[in-house]
Symmetry: C2
Subunit: 162 residues, 2 copies
């Protein structure tokens, strides 16, 4: 439903937020996995700083991320539209609208959402912004760590890509 009159802060119509595509992943194969992902950063648009909130749309054949787990950050996702396959170490579950998932930080169980349907899917994702985070990618020779210049992706042994 569209707002009857334009909303203004502290309210927000997410349609007014520019969607971000792209990723810092270091190889074409990795980038291709998330090529149909578009995130709207609701947190920044609302002035929120202590946790992150994205409204994310996944086109068919696209994943939310490479399968990963966070060293510290708790993550939450809530499916709004479409159908997403959640892949973890234990296998797969199909999540429809109104279902959710949560990933406590530090639990070494790689996860991601994949859109295996023929239409788009939409979900909210929330994560804390505590310091000391990073992520491991069990299906790839990849990890990410924070640096003073931002997130840095390397091979598991720390060697850089490219």
């Amino acid at each position: 439903m569209e707002a009857k009159t334009p909303l203004h802060r502290p309210a927000l119509d997410p349609a007014t937020v520019t969607a971000r595509t792209g990723t810092g992943y270091p190889t074409d194969e990795m980038r291709k996995a998330v090529a149909g992902r578009a995130k709207r950063a609701l947190d920044d648009a609302l002035g929120l700083t202590t946790f992150g909130v994205n409204l994310t749309r996944l086109e068919p054949g696209t994943a939310s991320a490479l399968r990963h787990w966070h060293l510290r950050q708790d993550e939450f996702v809530y499916v709004l539209a479409g159908e997403l396959t959640l892949v973890t170490d234990e296998g797969e579950q199909v999540l429809g609208p109104g279902t959710c998932a949560g990933f406590p930080g530090g639990v070494p169980n790689g996860h991601h959402l994949v859109n295996r349907t023929s239409t788009f899917a939409l979900y909210l994702e929330v994560g804390d912004r505590l310091p000391g985070d990073g992520a491991e990618y069990p299906d790839h020779d990849l990890r990410v760590r924070p640096t003073s210049a931002g997130w840095r992706y390397t091979r598991r042994d720390g060697r850089p890509y490219g």
Copy 2:
């Protein structure tokens, strides 16, 4: 849509989480304002600890809370169903499904959501769990502060109720 097979952690069907009603507000008038509120704590059900997530249902005539602002906690709400009136110092805005609002901690602009329609409304609410929080209630002689025994509601000058 219902899940085709029962979901298990890290996934969750919110319908399987028991809804909480009730409030710590100290007077009947205050409690009555939120009597038709039911919260499902998705955070606890998913093992998340660094931020809170509730799926909250408001019956007609019910408010999300007394109008308040947090000393420190950032808050986010996303409307899933129905229509909610957001009340702040600047007046009112009507939020429908797919719209959201955010309240940075420490901004002294009291807010709440009121269901003025004839059907229920449903929304997600997210808040951080940083220490040192508390809330002020500009429309009531009320404030709340954390204590070792939990949240304590008092009059603005600190005197207890009843």
